[in-house]
């Protein structure tokens, strides 16, 4: 059902990826980049009012630098109806391989309905074994998991991240640790996967060598879910 929003625009949603080297592009830079991509597509964009009009774009929860994603969402406001397939093709003509667009559709949900995000985390470090994988899993699934977090005021504070971990497994695969974690991601209890790594560093001795050419971490979002644990759409 495509209906005009009472405010006078159509909300077209895109699902895209941000992989490879694009993990090094910050969210702020991504937003700036998308303003230009949107203009290049020649879609009938709805612009913000004011002195410095910009296309109105809304994103799923920001990615930290160093995190890839197979599934990101972008809502674009249009002034006219455009066939989603046409819009999808226009997007793909204006981005590189590391940023393919998969779907386009007129959305009925809000991006703030995203409740959980699933991550795949690969840890290449010295001394990987099945025991280590087990220890990591137990550590992160303990009753309380304390992690040091930088507060808004810049002060370090210790928090229990366990409530934010919905499910988690750790296994040993091809000499690396492979973590699958589904973490809370609504705006009030967003859990950054970086905190999990910090706990493992401290408690399970991963990345002890501190040599980036021998030890390596890759973090990737693989799914976004709603509060009923269904794929978000």
């Amino acid at each position: 059902m495509v209906s005009l929003n009472p405010n006078g625009f159509y909300n077209l949603r895109f699902r895209f990826r941000k992989v490879g080297n694009l993990q090094f592009v910050s969210h702020l830079d991504l937003v700036r980049t998308f303003s230009k991509i949107a203009v290049r597509t020649k879609l009938p964009l709805w612009f913000t009012e004011g002195f410095n009009p910009k296309p109105k774009l809304v994103f799923s929860p920001p990615l930290s630098i160093g995190v890839e994603s197979e599934t990101e969402f972008l809502d674009v406001r249009l002034t006219q109806y455009v066939d989603p397939e046409t819009a999808l093709a226009a997007m793909n003509q204006n981005v590189t391989e590391e940023m393919r667009f998969f779907d386009a559709y007129y959305a009925e949900t809000k991006l703030s309905d995203i409740a959980f995000i699933s991550y795949e985390i690969r840890i290449q470090t010295a001394g990987v074994s099945e025991e280590l994988a087990k220890k990591c899993q137990e550590t992160l699934l303990a009753d309380t998991v304390l992690a040091v977090k930088k507060g808004k005021d810049g002060e370090d504070k210790t928090v229990d991240i366990r409530p934010g971990i919905h499910s988690l497994t750790v296994e040993e695969k091809d000499g690396a640790l492979l973590l699958y974690a589904t973490l809370s991601s609504d705006s009030s209890s967003f859990l950054n996967p970086d905190l999990l790594i910090r706990v493992l560093k401290e408690k399970c001795n991963v990345f002890a060598k501190d040599d980036p050419t021998e030890e390596f971490l890759s973090v990737k979002r693989i799914a976004m879910l709603d509060k009923d644990m269904k794929d978000f759409r």
Partner: protein, 617 residues
């Protein structure tokens, strides 16, 4: 781990990793097996600065239009990245392919300011190419220098195999063509190639083919070619017709914010004015304009290919473009609807009008900048900055009425014939600008007023009427800066000035000869980089390096050059004749001005270079 993996891995540990990723939209990818010439275009500063350079964008585009050439970009890694690359044995690589720069056929450096020399040398070292041209073997890439600094290439002559003098669009292609031809015919050798280039391509200077001898006092005795089939004077190259030369229509789109992240439209080259301190105004002559038709087409195309929301019209002095109203109207016919703004930097004081200000909705900030350059009419006449106090008051009046409460005024100190009176004149002028604001009726000035005086130090540059002048000593400049501060007694006036020590080092490298090669080699050995960045510049380090290599900085700065002396850059013919420069210098001391080329031709000599243009005959 493979090179690319090691590279990606260290990116997680450095600041602003987005600088190093490449893969941008519109970046040119080719198959290396399909090309016969790989060109690494290096910019000896950060990605953010290099990506904004128009010259690099133009030449990247021109070279890549050739199917057998693949030109890639290379920027200087920031110090943390440099350190990591050193630690993990990663050489300098190119943005597009990620291949080591040392494996390329040709390496070009865009030399925009003298303080980038140390960074350029650091990049050569990171590419694992021998620093000195004479130490490079047959397998080494050919290293080319170009850009404004190539107008005096002598201080860096030891490190470059070849210089491109003048505009590069045609010369670089000819150099690549010759390289490919000699390779194909199996007769390539370094020496043979350089010799052939020096002999047959106009605008090519191969320093190793020239001997320089010195008098006992350090001045140049003779400059002699080693072979009689290479030119004694190297003539600068220009593009004759700017309407037909290719202009980049698909610029590489950076993911991260760069210095000039917008559409840049080059409107004309050259300058009709002839300010006597300005190198660009002389070396980019003759004036050649593009037509509004071509410019509008290019602008539209650039908008569609980039999605930028700002178009900046670029030239040395935009209001001197003979068809500016036509161009602006034409652009405005679609930019407003597309929500694209126009910006006109480099507006001259005497041509600033209400109409121009309204057209450039792009001036989003509440500020505006003017460059009177000197504080008194007498000194403005000496430097041939043909603007008056009335012009300035009229211009700021328009700006104030247009809602701009912040005015920035650019000046220079240390100019020839300058006295303390001229310095006091700067404060006086700023005060009058404040006064102009308070002359507006109260309802017309709901916002505050701020006047910023920004003062830089005069550096006598090659190919200007002031090329023989001496630079003020450090002490004199400090006195002048202190005097100016004591003259400012208005809380609306803010005063900022450039570090005189930076200008002194700049002058040494701008005016230097080949003797400086030793100093720069030592600087490279000591690991000096990023001199253009305040946090890395060290005057004392350079003074120490000069002392250790027998260089007397004063020889190039406070000494001044004799009118009959052979200047280090005399082997270059930039079009404007030495006789003209000498006469302009004479007129400066007589406090006589020279009218712009729009009024009549002053016979500077640049017309001899040809070029389709409007002003010269």
């Amino acid at each position: 781990m493979a090179l690319s993996e090691r590279y990606a891995s260290i990116l997680k540990t450095v600041s602003k990793p987005g600088r190093y990723i490449g893969g941008e939209f519109n970046a040119v990818m080719k198959n290396k097996d399909d090309v016969r010439c790989r060109f690494a275009f290096c910019f000896p500063d950060t990605y953010e600065i290099g990506m904004s350079n128009l010259g690099v964008r133009i030449l990247y585009d021109v070279l890549n239009r050739h199917p057998a050439i693949w030109c890639e970009r290379v920027y200087a890694p920031w110090v943390d990245m440099m350190e990591k690359m050193k630690t993990y044995g990663i050489p300098l690589t190119a943005m597009e392919s990620g291949d080591p720069v040392g494996d390329f056929d040709l390496i070009g450096f865009s030399l925009q300011y003298e303080l980038c020399y140390s960074t350029a040398l650091a990049m050569i070292k990171m590419a694992n190419v021998p620093l000195l041209s004479r130490d490079r073997g047959e397998e080494c890439p050919i290293i080319i220098g170009g850009g404004p600094c190539a107008y005096n290439p002598e201080p860096i002559a030891d490190f470059f195999d070849l210089f491109n003098i003048g505009e590069g669009e045609e010369v670089l292609l000819e150099i690549c063509e010759l390289y490919m031809k000699m390779k194909r015919e199996g007769r390539y050798s370094r020496e043979g190639f350089l010799r052939e280039a020096a002999r047959s391509i106009e605008g090519v200077y191969v320093p190793a083919f020239y001997d320089v001898s010195y008098h006992e006092d350090g001045t140049i005795a003779a400059f002699t070619p080693k072979y009689d089939d290479i030119p004694t004077k190297i003539k600068k190259r220009i593009i004759s017709d700017l309407d037909t030369v290719p202009y980049p229509e698909k610029p590489v789109m950076p993911y991260i914010e760069t210095v000039h992240d917008r559409i840049v439209l080059e409107v004309y080259r050259g300058c009709i004015r002839g300010c006597r301190f300005c190198q660009a105004g002389m070396v980019y002559r003759p004036i050649r304009e593009k037509s509004p038709e071509v410019l509008c087409k290019t602008a539209k195309c650039l908008y569609e290919n980039t999605g930028y929301d700002e178009i900046s019209l670029i030239s040395l002095s935009i209001s001197d473009y003979s068809r500016l109203p036509e161009l602006c109207d034409n652009l405005l016919s679609w930019t407003d609807d597309a929500k694209v703004s126009l910006s006109l930097p480099s507006l001259r004081i005497d041509s600033f009008s209400e109409e121009l200000m309204k057209k450039t909705t792009g001036v989003r900030t509440g500020g505006i900048t003017f460059a009177p350059e000197a504080g008194t009419q007498r000194l403005r006449d000496v430097i041939n900055k043909n603007v008056t106090e009335e012009d300035l008051m009229r211009a700021v009046g328009i700006a104030f009425r247009g809602g701009k409460g912040n005015v920035k005024l650019y000046f220079m100190d240390g100019l020839p014939t300058e006295t303390m009176e001229d310095i006091a004149g700067i404060a006086d002028l700023a005060k009058k600008v404040v006064g102009e604001y308070y002359r507006l009726p109260k309802p017309q000035r709901p916002y505050g007023i701020g006047v910023t005086i920004s003062v830089s130090c005069f550096v006598p540059k090659p190919f200007t009427p002031f090329q023989w002048e001496k630079q003020d000593s450090f002490e004199t400049l400090l006195e002048k800066q202190a005097h100016l501060r004591s003259c400012i007694d208005d809380k609306h006036i803010r005063y900022t000035y450039h570090d005189a020590k930076v200008s002194a080092i700049e002058a040494v490298f701008a005016r230097g000869d080949r003797k400086l090669g030793k100093a720069l080699a030592l600087a490279a050995e000591e690991g000096i980089v990023f001199d253009a960045w305040d946090e890395f510049f060290s005057y004392d380090t350079y003074m120490d390096i000069f002392a250790r290599t027998g260089i007397d900085a004063a020889f190039y700065t406070t000494r001044g050059f004799g009118l009959d002396e052979i200047l280090p850059w005399d082997m270059i013919d930039c079009g404007v004749t030495k006789a003209y420069l000498k006469n302009e210098r004479k007129k400066a001391y007589e406090e006589k001005t020279t009218p712009s080329c729009a009024e009549h031709c002053n016979g500077c000599g640049a017309n001899a270079l040809g070029g389709k243009n409007r002003w010269c005959h």
